[in-house]
């Protein structure tokens, strides 16, 4: 059996890597990833053949993983977070689909047993670190307009604003992507208060983790980079302090029930 594991290794902290992800890495002889993700796995990857392709070469990485597996090498393609969310899994299936359509010339890809392992994604890490921001309906939007037209992205931000979703912005800012987050802020501000809590999470669950709490009104794009997740509460999300720690949560709507239930 030829096997390709498509594995999300979680946000960074070793204690958030699932046993299924570890087992997939252990079972593999070859690992394909952007180098940084492999470093997070530590000694586990020492004995493996590592194929480290740089950021930007995503298609080549997916293709290489399929080719290695087709050659009979048990292979794990790795991304941090959930590999199914803004990451490599979808490219693997897009390539496979092209093969089925006859647009690729790699019939051996179709013999591979593919196993996808989900992982904790940044949005979950950020919410859990600060409490329970994702307690009610939410959406995730990538602000990267490299592969998606800005008009589509803007429509999604407007819909999220209108529907009062908690929003997690992936890929909010890059060297060339500087104004998009400001525009998103403007759209959301038309529908929810300036006091809406915002989490800026960088390197979540890693040793270098840095979490900044701010508000929608005070959100400053210059404090955000491509490694930062930007999470914006809905109109009911609340920041409070117990004295020793600040927490943010989005209520599910129990407040009326709580009021009735309390003596």
């Amino acid at each position: 059996m030829k096997t390709l594991y498509v594995v999300g290794t979680g946000p960074g902290g070793k204690d958030l890597i699932t046993p299924q992800a570890l087992a997939a890495v252990e079972d593999s002889t070859d690992l394909v990833a952007y180098g940084l993700y492999m470093d997070l796995l530590g000694e586990l990857v020492d004995s493996k053949t590592k194929h480290d392709l740089p950021l930007g070469e995503e298609i080549e990485r997916a293709r290489l993983a399929l080719n290695l597996a087709a050659q009979g090498k048990t292979t794990a393609l790795l991304s941090s977070g959930d590999i199914g969310i803004y990451a490599m899994a979808t490219l693997v299936f897009e390539l496979l689909d092209r093969q089925v359509q006859g647009l690729e010339d790699n019939p051996e890809w179709l013999e591979i047993d593919i196993q996808v392992t989900p992982g904790i994604t940044a949005m979950q890490a950020g919410a859990s670190k600060m409490g329970a921001l994702l307690g009610h309906d939410f959406c995730a939007i990538s602000l990267s307009d490299l592969l998606t037209p800005w008009e589509t992205i803007e429509t999604r931000i407007k819909a999220a604003a209108m529907a009062d979703f908690v929003v997690s912005f992936y890929n909010p800012v890059s060297t060339k992507r500087t104004w998009q987050l400001g525009k998103a802020k403007e759209i959301l501000l038309a529908h929810r208060p300036a006091s809406t809590p915002v989490i800026l999470g960088r390197n979540l669950t890693r040793e270098t983790e840095n979490i900044i709490i701010t508000t929608l009104g005070e959100l400053d794009s210059t404090r955000v980079d491509m490694l930062t997740l930007v999470q914006i509460g809905n109109s009911a999300s609340k920041l409070f302090s117990t004295g020793s720690k600040e927490w943010i949560y989005t209520p599910r709507g129990y407040s009326r029930k709580l009021t009735i239930a309390t003596p």
Copy 2:
């Protein structure tokens, strides 16, 4: 130090429980949960004092967990999936916030060190089992109108339809909640093709897992119950077959790039 762990134990499969979740359970003397979730943990929970409150008593469960921790018992409050997503975490913080506001009479709650551990949620389990449905922008909407007015839910479905989000419906159907999913289908059908792939995932990653693949046009509420997650592709999501297996993915927008890159 008084400690309350607020822990998501993942969709069901033991190999998707994070080491952080297991460590929290191990460190606790008392576990608070709906019984089924504890069963999934097997022998690990044998030596613990178990507080098993039935479904429907969510507020009581959160209150009990806070009270036990405040008494000095290291306690873990457990939900399956991600406890921060449509689950118990937000209630813990809502109660804590009420204490800060003086609406509760439990000042000892404020001395508790609270640690939230995220878990793999059903939406990730369903997507990974079938490929990569969550490969691009997505939202999660609960169809439960017990605590959220139907008008709010309907606005969110309309926004999701308009914005072409991949949609995961949590709590789609119950004994009393019979027409909501049909209405959601109707709204989405106005914006995306009847051929849009749909995943009905029941007991995902458990031994009793049952996954049905259908289309938006064929979506039949009578095949869905309260344990089913309903996931609906966006207008670009695609179902294809390699002969031995069907896959569903949502492209990120690489197809133009792929066409250029292929000889």
